[in-house]
């Protein structure tokens, strides 16, 4: 029958969503009087046709892979961690404080590892409050994680303007790490080792869900929380675990950007990886190994957005428009796909299409 067509459908929907977003995004540009075709050509020529472009893509892919790995864990378990940006910022701030604070007291590798750990703990801590509220009181994590992001943006800005500010400079920021103190490059490249952390994280998630008992339980929870409870699984612990792991990886992504790229944490800096993470993880159909190429593609888009904004005077927010459009087109494509292959309807979740919203209060213990 249409077995092959049914297998191809998810790939086609994802590609159609990307194409649709690029097309409509291009129309926006044209409507604003910009040359869309020229802009896209610039993205491809400078992004893919130069070693500078390829290096930049690899560097920018690292935080996307880390955030994507965290979102995979949460979303596969049916936990909606909307607060990636907040966890990212707290993680980044923690790394930006720990690394200069320890620098010189320990070997540089140890400083970096402790700072990375600090970043992960920061992100995890930021996810703890929504996790507790969800498990103890059944509060919807969509709301709490979202609200926690607003708190994180303002709290981190205040901290870096006050108590954690580098007193030797005027702008509100942590002390700048010297180039030699940052994450070293992968030998033979100009790409720092954060990329390896990102790839390992995604591979780890693939193993978690493919071959381990905790991964299986998280997946069952995401597929049918009532069945998880019926089978005697500790639904509260699994929910909290998914949210905390997701937060820790977001925090690690923050540490990656501070320790590998920027060397410091600045007030009001927010790269907004949360939206990119959601778009890329859904376009990859919640499949860990598909997340890797999609992360590189999103990294290409981010770089392209930078290039276009410099060369063509396109607003930097254009990439966020593209990400948002992709999510919208993806939702439409999935709806169409389900209509066309109705026999797949019940098993559609296998392919990692957006699952139902988490049931209110389904996480409480008996």
């Amino acid at each position: 029958m249409s077995g092959a067509a049914a297998r191809l459908a998810p790939v086609l929907s994802s590609l159609a969503a990307i194409a649709g977003a690029l097309l409509v995004g291009g129309l926006f540009l044209e409507a604003r009087g910009k040359d869309a075709v020229g802009g896209y050509r610039l993205m491809v020529e400078r992004g893919l046709g130069s070693s500078f472009g390829l290096t930049e893509i690899a560097i920018k892919a690292a935080p996307l892979l880390l955030v994507g790995a965290g979102l995979l864990i949460a979303l596969k378990a049916g936990v909606w961690n909307i607060g990636v940006d907040g966890q990212f910022l707290i993680g980044a701030l923690a790394a930006g404080v720990v690394a200069p604070g320890l620098s010189g007291t320990l070997p540089n590798a140890a400083v970096l590892l402790l700072a990375a750990l600090g970043g992960a703990v920061g992100g995890l801590a930021w996810a703890t409050i929504p996790a507790l509220l969800r498990v103890r009181f059944g509060l919807n994590e969509i709301i709490t994680t979202l609200v926690m992001t607003s708190v994180a943006i303002n709290l981190s800005a205040w901290l870096v303007k006050g108590p954690l500010k580098d007193p030797d400079v005027v702008p509100p920021q942590t002390r700048l790490l010297a180039k030699a103190e940052r994450v070293p490059d992968i030998p033979g490249t100009e790409v720092h080792a954060g990329l390896i952390a990102g790839l390992v994280a995604v591979a780890g998630v693939a193993v978690l869900f493919g071959a381990t008992v905790p991964g299986f339980r998280l997946w069952v929870l995401g597929q049918n929380p009532r069945a998880a409870r019926h089978a005697g699984m500790d639904v509260g612990r699994l929910t909290a675990g998914a949210l905390l792991a997701s937060g820790a990886l977001a925090g690690l992504a923050g540490a990656n950007d501070v320790l590998g790229v920027r060397g410091l944490f600045q007030a009001n800096w927010n790269p907004g990886y949360g939206l990119a993470g959601f778009a890329l993880v859904y376009l990859a159909r919640l499949r860990p190994l598909v997340v890797i190429p999609v992360a590189f593609f999103f990294s290409f888009l981010l770089l392209g957005g930078d290039l276009m904004s410099r060369a063509r005077d396109v607003p930097t927010q254009f990439v966020e428009v593209l990400e948002g459009l992709m999510l919208v087109f993806f939702a439409v494509a999935v709806a169409l796909e389900r209509g066309r292959w109705p026999h797949r309807r019940r098993s559609a979740a296998v392919e990692g299409s957006p699952g139902p919203l988490p049931a209110q209060a389904s996480g409480e213990a008996a």
């Binding site: 299986f216 049918n224 296998v350 008996a366």
Partner: protein, 537 residues
């Protein structure tokens, strides 16, 4: 007298009566409705006259609710027609039904709790009523006066009692001009005084010429209130009782209705079991159990139960009398608010699913799709759902996929599960095969106490027999089995003893050899066992 001849004679009598009186206000004629292989309604003809209260009785699955949904515009029939005052009408949507003057009051009310009574009454009102300012308000006041309603129009619905909400529902239907009122199990959520109030309201409506259809399984209430009773059985009209019988001796009327509801079910002789000695070890001992339902009200209200090793104990009863809550409590999925549950002497009440499973409880849930299985997971994964990581054969951390597949192959063979293979998603299997997977999952652990809720619901006859045979065999191996089923035939086929669950309590416990379907049926609908039926079990 066989049911078939009963039906033919009665139908003719009924249709003669209809022809003689003024034409029915509303008539369902020759209605048929299939769901897959199940005939929910088969050539059903029912007529309701102006100023009449008609009771629609029948077991679960007899077709009562389907018929009501057809009249209310929720379900399109496959065959037949609905006539209003002799004229065929098309009821495609609930809105059509309202326009034609058919109002429905569902078991679970359809009011918006945060709005006031008046605002609820205004919802969805169209036509001149909506265009005239204050019209709904005036109609509501008028209807309220007629019904003697004690609810101010400004009251927020969420603050009202269930009985008050129901009166608001009825008033809302009348505001919209309902001439026919359909009520689905209207007394199930009400306290006894509220039931009396509802009856008074319905009598008042009858006096004003409204036709009332009352769907219920409570025999006593139907006999007290209704002018006529139609009994559905397996989607067909099994017969009806008119005022002559209803006004006569109530035990005679009761017996007739039970005959029509349950009679002639063709169950074979008692099961070939020698019976379990009364002093056998109690594998399950439940004392003073109180369990709240999802709504917060007590669904199990002080239940005592003992199931012995080697015995199948059946719990009979109409759905919604606490079955799910009882099963959930024993399986550790619901914490009781009072009482004890001991399995082989180990107390497990309120200690969670893990404690219950460790103590020896296996649980085949009545909600196979909703909580028993994960549709997207394979047969092998579903079979391993409860044991995975428990340290039995595989590792606690690594998933033993090879072992899962091997055990799945064995289960597929042993239980004749029709699945292409262990890797097939369970969502692609038929209901009967899903049930076999669930049963295989529990039996693989050889639980000293197996609880099985709705073992044969939606299964074809052969699969149902296989499932029942497996349950009986489990008990014959010296384990205890608790079967909770609204299908009386299941229990009569395999149970040693049967307890009848009514309103969260066991109304009676009888030995299988002492009873027949009629006796249990009477108990299920709130009647009593006559002396010869009852013997201490």
């Amino acid at each position: 007298m066989t049911p078939t001849t009963t039906r033919t004679i009665r139908e003719r009598v009924a249709s003669d009566a209809v022809a003689a009186a003024d034409p029915a206000l509303i008539e369902a004629r020759g209605i048929g409705k299939r769901y897959g292989a199940v005939r929910a309604l088969d050539d059903v003809t029912v007529a309701i006259r102006r100023g009449e209260i008609l009771g629609l009785l029948g077991e679960n699955g007899a077709g009562k609710t389907t018929l009501m949904n057809v009249l209310g515009g929720m379900t399109a029939p496959d065959a037949g027609a609905v006539l209003i005052e002799g004229r065929p009408v098309r009821i495609g949507t609930p809105r059509d039904a309202l326009r034609l003057g058919i109002g429905t009051v569902y078991q679970h009310f359809a009011l918006v709790p945060t709005l006031t009574v008046l605002e609820n009454a205004r919802l969805g009102v169209g036509g001149p009523l909506a265009r005239t300012p204050g019209a709904v308000e005036r109609r509501l006041a008028e209807v309220g006066r007629q019904l003697g309603m004690d609810v101010p129009p400004g009251a927020v619905v969420g603050h009202l009692s269930l009985g008050q909400r129901q009166r608001v529902e009825i008033a809302r239907a009348l505001v919209r001009g309902a001439r026919v009122l359909l009520l689905d199990e209207p007394t199930s959520a009400l306290s006894p005084p509220e039931v009396d109030g509802l009856m008074a309201t319905l009598r008042e409506l009858r006096a004003r010429g409204v036709a009332v259809v009352l769907i219920t399984h409570k025999l006593g209430e139907a006999l007290r209130l209704c002018d006529r009773v139609v009994v559905l059985r397996q989607g067909r009209v099994a017969g009806d009782l008119d005022a002559d019988i209803l006004d006569g001796d109530s035990t005679v009327a009761e017996r007739r209705v039970v005959d029509l509801m349950f009679g002639g079910s063709g169950v074979a002789a008692p099961p070939p079991t020698s019976g379990v000695p009364a002093d056998a070890r109690a594998a399950l001992a439940v004392r003073g159990l109180v369990v709240r339902g999802d709504g917060g009200d007590a669904a199990i209200r002080g239940l005592d139960l003992a199931v012995r090793a080697g015995e199948v104990f059946g719990i009979a009863g109409v759905d919604g009398n606490g079955q799910t809550e009882l099963a959930d409590a024993i399986a550790g999925q619901r914490a009781p608010s009072a009482g004890t549950i001991a399995v082989d002497g180990v107390e497990i009440a309120g200690r969670g699913v893990g404690a219950a499973a460790t103590a020896g409880v296996g649980y085949v849930t009545g909600d196979r799709i909703g909580e028993g299985s994960v549709a997207a997971a394979s047969v092998a994964e579903n079979l391993a759902l409860k044991e995975v990581g428990s340290g039995g054969e595989g590792s606690r951390f690594w998933l033993d996929r090879r072992g899962m597949e091997r055990r799945a192959r064995a289960a597929i063979e042993r239980f004749a599960i029709r699945a292409p293979g262990p890797a097939t998603p369970i969502g692609r299997l038929s209901g009967g095969n899903v049930q076999k997977v669930l049963l295989a999952r529990e039996l693989a652990r050889v639980p000293p106490l197996l609880v099985c809720h709705q073992p044969t619901h939606g299964l074809d006859a052969r699969t149902a027999r296989d499932v029942l045979t497996a349950l009986r065999a489990h008990a014959d191996g010296g384990r205890a089995v608790l079967v909770i089923s609204s299908e009386l035939d299941d229990l009569l086929a395999i149970a040693d003893r049967i307890g009848v669950l009514v309103d969260g309590r066991l109304a009676a416990t009888v030995a299988r050899v002492d009873v027949d379907a009629d006796a249990i049926g009477r108990l299920m609908v709130g009647g009593h066992v006559s002396a010869p039926d009852r013997r201490p079990a």
